[in-house]
C-alpha cells in the first residue's frame, strides 16, 4: 500500500483524506507504517468502498492484520445502524461464517506433551476429521440439524459433548439468538450432513501449544495461564452449511441491492438494509451458521479431550475462551454520548470487550475479554486482553491472525509441503496433514510476522498482549 496516500494520526493510527466532493465516511487503518506498506493497495480500495455504504456509524476500519479479501477486506470492521438505513452485507461476513478459535487450557506442561508428542500427534490426526473430503461420525436428521441451528454449543453440551462450564467461556454463552432455520436453504443443510465435528482445510488447524512468554502476569493469572503450560487451539468455522449460506446470499443480495436502490461500488459487497426482508433473511441464516460453528468447535473440543484422556488420564482440559472472527452481531455501543444498537461486521476481526463489560463471564469481567491471534504453524499465537480504549477506537475489535503476506500460488512456488514438514519437525514442531499442497500454501513464511501484528494491536490500543503460545503439534486440513 502506498502510505503516501494516508495521513498519520499517530504511529499506529492512519486515515485517508477525502478528495474534494468525495462523499464517504471516515476511514481508520490501525497498523504501523511497515505493516501498512506491506499491505496490498486493494485493502485501501476495499475499505474505501465500505466507507460508502449507507447507515455506517463512525469509521470504516482495518485491523493491523488486514489483507485483500472479497467485498470487505479481511481485517475489516464496520458498524451499521438499522434505524438509519444501515445495511447487512454477506461480503462483510464472508463464506466461513463464524470462523473462530476455541482455546483450551490444560494442567499439563511442555514436558508432559513432549513425552508423548508423536503418539499424541498421530492420535489427534486420526481422531479429528481434517481436510477436504473428510467427514465426521455424527449424522443428524433434518429436525436435529434445526436444533443445532437454534441451539449452537448449548445443543452440543446437551448431547454430551461438553459441560456447562464450557458454555460460560463461549461468546453468547454458546448460543446466538435470532437464528431462523427456515432462512437456510435445503442445500446448505444437506452440505452439513457429514460435516459436524470436522476441522476443514486451508488455514484451519488444531494446535497443541505451550505458553512461551507471559506479558501480563495479573491477567494471565485471571485467564489461568502460566509459563510452560500446554494449550490447545482449534481454528475452524461453520463448515459446509456456512459456506452454502455465503454462496446463497452473496448472489441473492447482490441482485437485491439493485432492486432496493443501493448503488454499490463493488457488487461483492452484496448487502441489503438490515430492516428489509432480504436483510432479515440473511441475518436469520447467518445466526444459524454461527450456532453451527459454535457446536462444531464444541464437538472438536470433545474429540480433543478424548484423545488427551487416552494419554493423560487425569488431565483437566478447560475452555479458556471461544471467539469468532467472521460475524455481524447486534451490539450496544456508545456513540457521541448515546447508547445505540449497532450491527457490527467483523470480517477477519475479533470482538475484544474491555474490563467490566456485562457480556463477559464473571471470571474475566475485571480483566477483560481474552482475544486470540492465531499465527502460522511455525511461529506462534498470542492471547491478548480487550481494553477499555478499544471501545472508542474500534467498537471493541482487534486483530484475528497473522494475515497472509503472499498469495497461495506464490507460496506453492516457494515451498514444498514434505520439505516444510520435515524442517518444522527438526525444530520440534510436529505437523500432521493429508495435503502436502495445503502445507506448502500455509508455510510460516507466507504469513506476516505475528509478533509485529500483536505489537501493533497493542500499540493501537485495540487489545493488550498477555501470553505468547509456541506451536508443538499441528493438525492441518
Amino acid at each position: 500500500m502506498d502510505i503516501a496516500r494516508l495521513r498519520s494520526i499517530d504511529a499506529w493510527t492512519w486515515t485517508v483524506p477525502r478528495r474534494d466532493g468525495e462523499s464517504r465516511a471516515e476511514i481508520r487503518l490501525y497498523a504501523d507504517a511497515a505493516l501498512l506498506g506491506a499491505m496490498d493497495d486493494k485493502v485501501l480500495e476495499q475499505i474505501t468502498n465500505v466507507a460508502r455504504l449507507p447507515g455506517l456509524v463512525g469509521a470504516a476500519m482495518t485491523m493491523p492484520d488486514a489483507h485483500w479479501g472479497y467485498g470487505f477486506p479481511i481485517g475489516g470492521v464496520a458498524a451499521f445502524d438499522a434505524d438509519r438505513g444501515g445495511i447487512i452485507s454477506a461480503g462483510g461476513v464472508g463464506f466461513d461464517i463464524s470462523c473462530g478459535i476455541r482455546c483450551l487450557r490444560t494442567d499439563l506442561t511442555a514436558d508432559d506433551v513432549q513425552a508423548h508428542a508423536r503418539g499424541l500427534a498421530d492420535s489427534l490426526f486420526e481422531n479429528i476429521p481434517a481436510g477436504v473430503g473428510e467427514e465426521g461420525s455424527i449424522r443428524l436428521s433434518p429436525g436435529e440439524l434445526d436444533e443445532v441451528l437454534l441451539g449452537g454449543a448449548q445443543w452440543a453440551v446437551k448431547e454430551g459433548y461438553g459441560t456447562d462450564d464450557d458454555l460460560q467461556y463461549i461468546e453468547e454463552r454458546g448460543r446466538m439468538a435470532g437464528a431462523v432455520p427456515a432462512s437456510v436453504s435445503e442445500l446448505a443443510k444437506k452440505r452439513q450432513r457429514g460435516e459436524m465435528g470436522t476441522l476443514g482445510s486451508g488455514n484451519h488447524y488444531l494446535e497443541v501449544q505451550t505458553v512461551e512468554r507471559i506479558y501480563d502476569e495479573p491477567v494471565a493469572r485471571a485467564f489461568g495461564l502460566v509459563q510452560g503450560q500446554a494449550i490447545v487451539s482449534i481454528h475452524c468455522g461453520s463448515r459446509g452449511l456456512g459456506h452454502q449460506i455465503g454462496t446463497d446470499y452473496l448472489v441473492s443480495l447482490a441482485k437485491a441491492a439493485g432492486r432496493l436502490g443501493l448503488d454499490l461500488p463493488d457488487r461483492e459487497l452484496a448487502c441489503a438494509p438490515i430492516n428489509s426482508p432480504e436483510g432479515q433473511a440473511y441475518l436469520g441464516a447467518m445466526n444459524g451458521a454461527i450456532n453451527i460453528a459454535l457446536a462444531n468447535r464444541q464437538i472438536l473440543t470433545y474429540l480433543t479431550r478424548r484423545v488427551f484422556g487416552h494419554f493423560f488420564r487425569e488431565a483437566r482440559i478447560e475452555t479458556l475462551f471461544d471467539v469468532s472472527h467472521n460475524t455481524c452481531k447486534p451490539e450496544w455501543h456508545e456513540v457521541e454520548g448515546k447508547r445505540r444498537l449497532l450491527h457490527v461486521h467483523r470480517k477477519g476481526a475479533t470482538r475484544a470487550f474491555g474490563p467490566g463489560h456485562a457480556g463477559l463471564p464473571e471470571r474475566y469481567r475485571k480483566a477483560g475479554q481474552p482475544v486470540i491471534i492465531g499465527g502460522s504453524m511455525g511461529t506462534g499465537s498470542y492471547v491478548l486482553v480487550g481494553t477499555g480504549e478499544s471501545e472508542n477506537r474500534a467498537f471493541s475489535s482487534a486483530s484475528h491472525g497473522a494475515g497472509r503476506a503472499m498469495s497461495r500460488s506464490q507460496a506453492l512456488r516457494q515451498w514444498r509441503g514434505r520439505e516444510l514438514i520435515d524442517e518444522l519437525a527438526a525444530r520440534g514442531i510436529l505437523v500432521r496433514t493429508k495435503a502436502m499442497r495445503g502445507a506448502a500454501e500455509e508455510a510460516p513464511g507466507a504469513y506476516k510476522d505475528v509478533n509485529a501484528v500483536a505489537e501493533a494491536t497493542e500499540r493501537a490500543g485495540l487489545a493488550r498482549r498477555v501470553a505468547l503460545l509456541a506451536p508443538r503439534i499441528c493438525v492441518k486440513g
Partner: protein, 137 residues
C-alpha cells in the same frame, strides 16, 4: 469440450481462470481449475455423474452459480470431481460433473469454500471466451 485453465494472484484466496472457444467451454475450464485446487484430477476416476441445472441471464453470475452448484453437489454427495460438461439454451444451463467418492488414493489439495464475485469477469475476445473469479479457500 476443449479449453485451458490457469490461476491468477489474490492475497488470501485463489483466482481461477478458464478459457475456451465457446462460453460454455470457458465455464467448464474454470470448473476444472477450481476442482484441481481440491484434488489432483489425475488421481480421480470419473465413475459417478451428477447433473447440475440452473437459470441465469447474467453470464458473470452464471459462472459463479455454476461453480457454486458444483461445489454444493460435491460436498452434498461426498464426491471428488474431475470431469465436467455444460450446455446452454438461452438462460437455461444444464451441466454435469463426474468423479468418485473421496478415498485415500485421491491426492488432496485445499478445500474451496465458494466462488466469489471478486475479480469476476466473463468476456469474449478474438481468441474465444475467458471466465475468471476468485474462489475462497
Amino acid at each position: 469440450m476443449g479449453g485451458t485453465y490457469g490461476y491468477f494472484e489474490h492475497d488470501a484466496d485463489i483466482g481461477v481462470c478458464g478459457r475456451g472457444v465457446k462460453l460454455e467451454d470457458a465455464l467448464v475450464s474454470a470448473a476444472r481449475a477450481m476442482f484441481a485446487i481440491q484434488a489432483d484430477p489425475d488421481s480421480i476416476r470419473p465413475g459417478e455423474r451428477v447433473v447440475i441445472q440452473f437459470e441465469e441471464g447474467d453470464t458473470e453470475l452464471a459462472l459463479v452459480r455454476w461453480l457454486n452448484a458444483l461445489l454444493g453437489a460435491s460436498r452434498e454427495r461426498g464426491l471428488a470431481f474431475s470431469d465436467f460438461g455444460l450446455a446452454r439454451e438461452g438462460e437455461r444451463w444444464r451441466g454435469w460433473a463426474a468423479g468418485e467418492p473421496w478415498h485415500n488414493a485421491v491426492v488432496r489439495g485445499t478445500e474451496v469454500k465458494g466462488a466469489t464475485l471478486t475479480m469476476l469477469s466473463v468476456r469474449q475476445d478474438a481468441r474465444g471466451w475467458e471466465a475468471r473469479c476468485v474462489v475462497d479457500v
